[in-house]
């Protein structure tokens, strides 16, 4: 019982980056605790994807029409039945993983650690987690010798998890039957808007600090002067102040512009996931503790409403 199990995920026929990151992380852990890296792959017509998971020693596949689409409790039950021989289970902390990890932990009684940025196994199982929207880091230890870790994306290099090697593939029959309590009615793609923020060189990004829809006009002015576009953090989109296709982050888009200027964005891990690879990140926030200053290249602690008029002035006279 010393295997390291990876819950892989795929969407629209492709394994996600996070799946490869977890395989890479599993290799490191397996090297320390002994045991094999086992990747779990659940879906319909997915056996072919196993060829990409050569970073694992063994791949367990449940390929069944019942799993044509992700089934929140169905997948949780299937993965739960596959982890019996594993000491460590890695689950991506994504929309799919969030349904799987907590359910597996509750049913099996194996402790779950969420929000993991890194995992350590030298003296017992433990992890470093990001709490309070990334403001606080906690070192945690797990009682016992088994744990499920729900891992934030970006915790390892996906490249290290890709391998052309051939792992042993075991097909397992669907252990939960086809009577799922939730039926997927289909995927819905986002509607394309007027601006594609993934192809802009300059993004002026407003967070909750912008306070109201009206204030976004000032950020727009700066974006216009720079020939860029305005994007936002999740709360801005949830308020309906900007369209869905302007959202950066975990459930939004991943962007890599030349300039990423944030105004009143705190830098929660879910936001950072979508922008950490921008070429130059400039953050403005009144809170010197804001985690955004940890990923930014340049930061100014101050009020965006003091800064914006100055910025417009400087750019106009530039």
């Amino acid at each position: 019982m010393s295997d390291v199990f990876v819950v892989t995920e795929h969407l629209q026929g492709q394994l996600t980056e996070t799946s490869f990151e977890l395989v890479a992380q599993a290799r490191t852990i397996a090297a320390q605790i002994g045991g094999q890296v086992v990747a779990g792959l659940v879906g319909s017509g997915v056996t072919g994807l196993a060829a990409e998971l050569g970073g694992a020693d063994r791949i367990v596949v449940v390929d069944d029409p019942a799993f044509e689409n992700f089934s929140p409790d169905g997948h949780a039950a299937v993965f739960g039945s596959l982890i019996e021989d594993s000491a460590v289970v890695l689950v991506p902390y994504t929309s799919m993983g969030m349904d799987v990890a907590s359910a597996m932990s509750t049913t099996s009684g194996i402790p779950l650690v969420s929000f993991c940025a890194s995992i350590s196994v030298d003296s017992g199982l433990g992890a470093t987690c990001q709490l309070y929207a990334g403001k606080i880091e906690a070192d945690v230890e797990v009682d016992g010798d088994r744990a499920i870790f729900a891992v934030l994306s970006g915790s390892a290099s996906a490249e290290d998890g890709r391998s052309g090697a051939a792992a042993e593939v075991t097909r397992v029959p669907n252990p939960v039957g086809s009577e799922l309590r939730s039926t997927c009615l289909g995927l819905v793609e986002p509607e394309g808007g007027d601006v594609d923020i993934t192809s802009e060189d300059v993004l002026v990004v407003v967070g909750r600090g912008i306070e109201s829809e009206d204030n976004i006009a000032e950020a727009q002015e700066v974006a216009d002067l720079l020939g860029g576009a305005v994007a936002g953090s999740r709360p801005i989109i949830d308020q309906g102040w900007l369209a869905k296709d302007r959202q950066v982050g975990k459930s939004g888009l991943t962007v890599k512009p030349k300039i990423y200027l944030t105004l009143g964005v705190s830098g929660a891990p879910e936001h950072v996931e979508g922008m950490k690879d921008a070429e130059t990140i400039i953050a403005v926030n009144t809170d010197p503790q804001a985690p955004i200053f940890g990923v930014a290249h340049y930061g100014w602690v101050g009020d965006i409403f003091d800064l914006l008029p100055e910025l417009v002035d400087k750019l106009e006279s530039d």
Binding site: A76, M98, A101, S114, L253, I259, T280, P291, Y298
Partner: protein, 253 residues
């Protein structure tokens, strides 16, 4: 559709977070608590469901903070029918213990939906909605951005990423982890909250904290390193604006 919404106060993330002397937790003596923002969305979605297709909304609040009563009265003012406060000083329990408490409070009640926020800023061991569902052996969907009541089922939209969502028909009873309500949580006039305070729809159930079984222990906490990557710009807004323009121009834009 009869909904139960689980509400948890969490330390206000906007405040400066200070650590206790031995560095194992936040210094909670001076912390202000606010309703977990995703729970507020869960409440909004429950009220929208009730407005669209009838039924009731019951809110269950965990913890003793003064803020809890205010939170529950606010929920009543927004449209909840009944509010129940669960016990004393429970806010620091693990999510798996919180799930335990909610499940026992739900015993003997009938409901179609349990809604709670997709996650909370202070949780280490998973998400409440899914844990509650797994304990009750009912279906769950996490990261939900909208729900629609049906007959014996609910249609929910789950968000994946890049804006891709999927619709699910889910048998009820079910538990949903709400990421965002269909519309932003409503505001409510202070006068209505005052009315709710007098309305008597708030009751209290005493609960004994269950033995801690999460198996996860915090050994130490620290304020995340900031400024590690960032070169901090000094000076007032004028100096900052000048420097920012210089950086942008330097990047060839």
């Amino acid at each position: 559709m009869d909904s139960v919404v689980l509400l948890r106060p969490v330390p206000d993330p906007v405040e400066e977070l200070e650590l206790n002397d031995d560095g194992t937790d936040l210094d909670r003596d001076y912390l202000g608590y606010v309703l977990n923002e995703f729970d507020d969305h869960a409440l909004e979605e429950a009220i929208l469901l009730k407005e669209a297709s009838g039924g009731s909304v019951t809110v269950l609040g965990l913890g003793s903070a003064d803020e809890m009563e205010q939170i529950l009265h606010t929920a009543l003012a927004k449209g909840a029918d009944e509010a129940i406060k669960l016990g004393d000083d429970l806010s620091q329990l693990s999510v798996s213990s919180q799930a335990e408490i909610f499940v026992s409070a739900l015993e003997g009640r009938s409901y179609d939906l349990i809604l709670t926020g997709v996650q909370a800023a202070d949780e280490l061991d998973g998400q409440l909605a899914v844990r509650v569902a797994a304990k009750l052996e009912i279906p769950h969907v996490s990261v939900v951005v909208g729900a629609d009541a049906g007959d014996g089922s609910v249609k929910v939209t789950k968000e994946f990423w890049g804006g891709v969502t999927a619709d699910y028909q889910v048998q009820t009873p079910a538990a949903l982890g709400i990421q965002a309500a269909r519309q932003a949580p409503r505001y409510v006039a202070v006068s209505l909250i005052r009315q709710a305070q007098q309305g008597g729809a708030l009751s209290e159930i005493d609960v004994d904290p269950p033995p801690e079984t999460s198996g996860v222990r915090v050994v130490s906490v620290r304020v995340s390193e900031t400024g590690e990557g960032a070169e901090m710009i000094e000076g007032d807004e004028e100096a900052a604006a000048e420097k920012i323009v210089e950086i942008i121009r330097g990047a060839g834009v």
